[in-house]
């Protein structure tokens, strides 16, 4: 169920260039079932910044009643968020949307998790859950450069991990699709999150038979009421049918929506 809660910050730290890891505590964590869902954060109580910010759940710690997000401090809202300290409270709405289906893969099979930049965080939660299900996980992660990369060790601990950076400062020089080709990455199910060009490239260069992609879109409500975040389904690319990224997504089976 979707809940709204003033959650308490347990810790916040910078883990890469402009990248922050923030852990919060509260009852809302109990609702966090599927990896790949997101929370909608109200940064402060005033009128500016006005809108909530959608951020993926990066890790759930059910036994502690805590969860972690990883985000890039870029604009006004995330910059203010990065200044919050342990003990302060944040208005969290969530969990929202539909995540990565765990049941789409069976134990013993291989999942390929491909992430780019701030698309990487939800894959961490996903990878942990898949591991619990005895799924074999391969990670292919892309970043701008070494400075902006994060959670590399954590991913390595969970499974094979290939990296690509635009400047070659970490892993191979190039994009995640280059890494997939170069290391002949293959699996049963693809799970991907990252910028649209990356997802488009993956639609072509799909290292698995089936797959799921997580989309980003500017949002108003985050719950499906305002029609801000719609996209066209592939079977009606110019028509009046639609999917809402916030409530039908953010995760869609590859091929379901027009990227």
């Amino acid at each position: 169920m979707i809940k709204q809660e003033l959650m308490t910050i347990v810790s916040q730290q910078q883990i890469a260039k402009n990248i922050y890891e923030l852990t919060m505590e509260g009852e809302l964590v109990q609702e966090m079932d599927e990896p790949g869902r997101f929370v909608h954060l109200r940064i402060n109580g005033g009128t500016a910044p006005l809108l909530r910010r959608p951020i993926s759940v990066a890790a759930v710690h059910q036994h502690l009643g805590q969860f972690t997000i990883i985000y890039r401090a870029g604009g006004e809202g995330t910059r203010l968020l990065s200044e919050k300290k342990a003990g302060e409270r944040i208005d969290v709405l969530g969990p929202l949307g539909h995540g990565f289906p765990l049941e789409a893969i069976e134990s013993g099979q291989t999942a390929v998790l491909v992430g780019g930049g701030i698309g990487v965080p939800p894959l961490y939660d996903l990878s942990r859950r898949l591991k619990e299900q005895n799924v074999h996980v391969i990670h292919v992660l892309g970043f701008q450069n070494q400075e902006s990369a994060f959670y590399m060790e954590k991913f390595c601990d969970l499974g094979e991990t290939y990296m690509a950076t635009e400047d070659g400062s970490l892993g191979i020089k190039g994009f995640v699709t280059d890494a997939i080709k170069q290391f002949s990455v293959k699996g049963d199910v693809l799970y991907a999150c990252g910028p649209i060009p990356m997802l488009k490239a993956l639609e072509k260069e799909n290292p698995a038979d089936r797959g799921f992609v997580s989309l980003e879109q500017r949002m108003g409500c985050g719950i499906g009421a305002c029609f801000a975040c719609v996209c066209h389904p592939s079977n009606d690319p110019k028509g009046t049918e639609y999917r809402k990224v916030c409530s039908d997504g953010p995760v869609f089976p590859i091929g379901e929506v027009v990227l």
């Binding site: 169920m1 979707i2 709204q4 109200r42 009128t47 500016a48 910044p49 006005l50 809108l51 909530r52 809202g77 208005d91 709405l93 879109q217 500017r218 949002m219 108003g220 409500c221 985050g222 719950i223 499906g224 009421a225 305002c226 029609f227 801000a228 975040c229 719609v230 996209c231 066209h232 028509g239 009046t240 049918e241 639609y242 409530s247």
Partner: protein, 313 residues
């Protein structure tokens, strides 16, 4: 009688607080969060004769204390609204105000005629002011004669009272208000969004795919208050006020300006529980302050003290 119980043409409101059109869909999503029976009414998303996808994305952008939207009247079309959405909403004991839109006058007439026959639709809200549709839309709300004519035509076919939603993007809003009153409008809702724009600093291009969009939220509140203040002194029909409301104080401000009920738009995105929260706060307020009826507050800013008769009553 509960001091919050408000009677407006066609509408028996448990309380004078309702979600604004386009910010609440057809209620399904919010019904997962709280019991919609708490609401005074529901203004549903604009309905057009045909289904519409609306504008390309991005459709929203944030601005200082406000937001821009260019949804472009996306809706499932008249048929589906009547067959799917309104029947679903009939489970709630809440009057529905159907927001209707179109490109041509005929569109409005078509939607009005059909939708006003649905049981739980207690009033229509003519959206003659949406800045996000390229044809028709905008002009209807800016030329008094056209606004009047449209109101008349819709009144002829509607089974329920007709409220006209005014655009703030005009030189003289009183003129438009008077025109729709003359056209037979039973009430006015105001304000719709102000036409605005944001440019993406990184690309140098408009951030919204549509270029311009409608500005809403706290930023526009002073404009809404001013316009309601002006219009309420010049018409005899009630006003449902909106534009930036996000607190109890804001609701009071709109009543003092001249509103008889209020609608809440953008604030639903910031706090999805805002409507029931403010309804509870308003109830506490009238109880604590011994206010016999909320209508006492309407127009207080311009009513002569000690003399409660005024042109709008």
């Amino acid at each position: 009688m509960n001091p919050l119980h408000v009677q407006l043409p066609g509408l028996e409101l448990k309380n004078p607080v309702m979600p604004a059109s386009g910010c609440f869909g057809f209620g399904r999503e919010f019904s997962q969060l709280y019991d919609l029976n708490q609401l005074g009414a529901i203004m549903i998303k604009a309905t057009t004769p045909e289904p519409r996808f609306g504008n390309p994305t991005p459709r929203v952008a944030e601005t200082p204390s406000g937001m821009l939207n260019a949804i472009g009247l996306q809706n499932p079309g008249l048929k589906k609204v009547i067959s799917d959405e309104l029947p679903w909403l009939s489970q709630f004991d809440v009057p529905i105000i159907a927001n209707i839109a179109g490109s041509e006058m005929e569109d409005y007439v078509t939607v009005a005629e059909a939708i006003s026959q649905v049981d739980n639709v207690k009033a229509l809200e003519l959206n003659i002011s949406c800045p996000n549709v390229k044809t028709g839309g905008i002009a209807f709300g800016t030329v008094p004669e056209i606004a009047k004519e449209l109101t008349k035509k819709v009144k002829e076919v509607s089974e329920v009272p007709v409220y006209v939603k005014l655009s703030p993007n005009v030189t003289n809003i009183v003129e438009i208000a008077k025109a729709v009153e003359e056209g037979g409008a039973d009430g006015i809702t105001m304000i719709n969004t102000l036409l605005g724009m944001k440019i993406d600093i990184h690309t140098g291009r408009a951030l919204l795919a549509n270029g311009t969009g409608g500005l809403s939220g706290p930023a526009v509140k002073p404009i809404a208050v001013r316009m309601i203040y002006e219009v309420s002194q010049h018409v005899h029909i009630p006003i449902i006020g909106m534009g930036g409301i996000s607190s109890l104080d804001d609701i009071l401000e709109f009543f003092y300006a001249g509103a008889s009920a209020v609608a809440i738009g953008t604030a639903n995105f910031v706090d999805p529980f805002i409507c029931p929260k403010l309804i509870a706060q308003l109830q506490d307020y009238v109880d604590a302050n011994g206010i016999d009826h909320i209508s006492e507050l309407t127009g207080r800013s311009w009513k002569v003290r000690g003399n409660r008769t005024y042109i709008g009553s």
